[in-house]
């Protein structure tokens, strides 16, 4: 039995990057006076989803059973899709395209979540193929 899933490892790294990035280098606008705009909440939501994605993928990484991993990759895909809809679609951002939340956070997060969704989907089909192959091996 294959005990290691490359897709889960990659999604774990992406989830961790999203979580860390949403509060640091890819985070929302920081105002000089300490106040924050609506994009702050989008950043908080992405922090939560990033942590959730990292936790799901960690569980898939530690899981030895192929079918179980396959099962975890499905919510990982949908969590990633949900995450990509957060900045600008589900939670509004600042009203100026030149601001950090729109110029950096939104495109970066959409790319990272989309990559995560794509990898989860590929991982799901790879695990499915592997599981079918193993079933075919049985006498």
């Amino acid at each position: 039995m294959k005990k290691f899933s490359v897709a889960s490892l990659l999604v774990f790294l992406l989830g961790a990057l999203i979580a860390v990035g949403s509060v640091s280098f890819l985070g929302p606008c920081v105002h000089e006076d300490g106040s924050f705009g609506v994009c702050h909440w989008a950043g908080q939501a992405m922090l939560g989803i990033g942590i959730l994605l990292a936790a799901e993928s960690l569980f898939a990484l530690l899981c030895g059973d192929r079918r179980m991993r396959q099962g975890i990759l499905i919510p990982m895909f949908f969590t990633s899709c949900l995450g990509s809809l957060i900045p600008g679609t589900l939670i509004d951002l600042c009203h100026m395209a030149t601001m950090r939340c729109r110029a950096l956070m939104q495109p970066a997060m959409i790319i990272l979540f989309s990559l995560s969704a794509l990898i989860s989907l590929i991982g799901f089909f790879a695990e499915k193929r592997g599981a079918r192959g193993r079933a075919g091996d049985r006498p």
Binding site: C29, H31, G37, V38, L93, C94, H95, M96, A97, T98, M99, R102, A103, L104, P107, A108, I110, I111
Partner: protein, 401 residues
């Protein structure tokens, strides 16, 4: 297995080698496509700025040069508000050689008003203006009503939505076409709306008065078009002498500054692309030379089996072309992921006009980058394929023993 499938099978059999060659060619495609898109966007931005400025001379208050650079305002969308007596407009119109003189009034909104950031409001006179109007007419042809505003493409407000400027609720009636300049971050309104906004700003303690008389009108800039046959420099000097506390700036000198900066960036990008290509070509040549040494026995066996020299040459060329094609597609895709979603960020960081080219130009550029990558991959493997096709099977196989 047929000889047609052999190149692909060879690539799949050595995934490590294939991956390394693919990544190397991906770097080539990434650099040429990404770099070219940036340079093209900068050129497009400069053209857009030229057509948007339209005027030959721009007259601004002398204080504008120290308060906020007028050039920064146009290029980067930095907010600025400076005023001069509206009488200067008539003075400029009196100067011989002036064909059109159109006023504009600038106002910077408060940070918390609508956008969590200061926004530049520009009032223009639709009756006399010949510089902003052609651009605006691409998006909106009706007359502007009281408190109707039009927003630049980078202001995220939808048509019909209300935005608050100094507690005045202004209705967005149009979103303007992108120009790639600081004009995209501004809000445009008629002079009547601007007067209302100036009063509202005054009530909030933001003064715009230049004289002690509260009824005196103010303007921020005068865009001047010089009549045909007149020397722009001479008209510029006359305006300078005829107006009070004003600076007349020739737009050509402003464009020359931008053009110089653009040339600097363009040269840097070109040198970087050339350096990456030379480096990658050397690495590819070394890689293929090593592969040629490693695969001598394989080719010797193929020769013994009756494969012709031309087929053996073609085999290596096909392998490298396939690798380069995969790398090219990967490089173009990755460059697209970096360059297009982060257009605004690149524009902000460069501080120069930046306008994305047409989709047809981008597709052509992508195809050209792919072709160049495949050709360079094939050219790098040409020597290796020549050497391998000329191996002496007997000698090579004896060496192995």
């Amino acid at each position: 297995m047929s000889m047609q499938k052999l190149p692909l099978q060879n690539l799949l059999r050595r995934p490590g080698r294939t991956l390394a060659l693919t990544l190397l060619t991906a770097l080539l495609a990434f650099s040429v496509f990404g770099g070219s898109v940036i340079v093209m966007s900068l050129r497009q931005g400069l053209n857009s700025l030229e057509s948007r400025l339209g005027a030959d001379i721009i007259v601004v208050p002398s204080s504008a040069q120290s308060k906020v650079s007028f050039q920064n305002m146009l290029l980067q969308g930095t907010t600025g508000a400076f005023y001069m007596d509206a009488e200067n407009l008539e003075r400029v119109r009196e100067v011989e050689g002036v064909e059109i003189a159109a006023p504009q009034v600038f106002l910077a909104s408060l940070k918390a008003d609508c956008c969590s950031v200061k926004i530049q409001v520009i009032g223009f006179d639709p009756e006399t203006d010949l510089f902003v109007r052609p651009w605006i007419e691409q998006s909106y042809t009706k007359e502007l009503g009281d408190l109707d505003v039009m927003v630049g493409c980078k202001v995220e407000a939808n048509i019909g939505e209300n935005i608050r400027i100094y507690d005045e609720r202004c209705k967005v009636v149009a979103r303007l076409a992108p120009t790639g300049t600081g004009l995209d971050t501004a809000v445009y309104c008629s002079m009547d709306t601007m007067k209302t906004l100036l009063k509202a700003a005054e009530a909030k303690g933001v003064s715009h008065k230049v004289t002690s008389d509260p009824d005196d009108d103010v303007i921020s800039a005068i865009y001047v078009k010089v009549r045909d046959g007149y020397d722009i420099s001479q008209v510029n000097s006359k305006i300078q002498g005829h107006t009070r506390k004003c600076s007349a700036i020739r737009t050509k000198s402003m464009l020359t500054d931008v053009s110089d900066s653009l040339a600097g960036i363009s040269n840097t990008v070109t040198i970087l692309i050339a350096a990456i290509w030379v480096l990658a070509l050397i690495i590819l040549l070394i890689a293929f030379a090593m592969i040629a040494g490693e695969r001598k026995r394989e080719f010797a066996v193929l020769r013994l089996l009756g494969t012709s020299r031309s087929i053996l040459s073609g085999l290596i060329l096909k392998e490298s072309a396939l690798c380069s094609l995969m790398g090219g597609v990967l490089g173009v895709l990755f460059a697209s992921l970096v360059v297009f979603p982060f257009t605004t960020l690149i524009e902000t960081k460069l501080g120069l006009p930046y306008l994305r080219p047409e989709i047809s130009s981008i597709i052509l550029l992508a195809l050209a980058s792919l072709t160049a990558t495949v050709m360079i991959g094939a050219a790098a493997s040409a020597w290796a394929s020549f050497r391998l096709s000329r191996v002496d099977p007997g000698t090579v196989l004896r060496e192995g023993n």
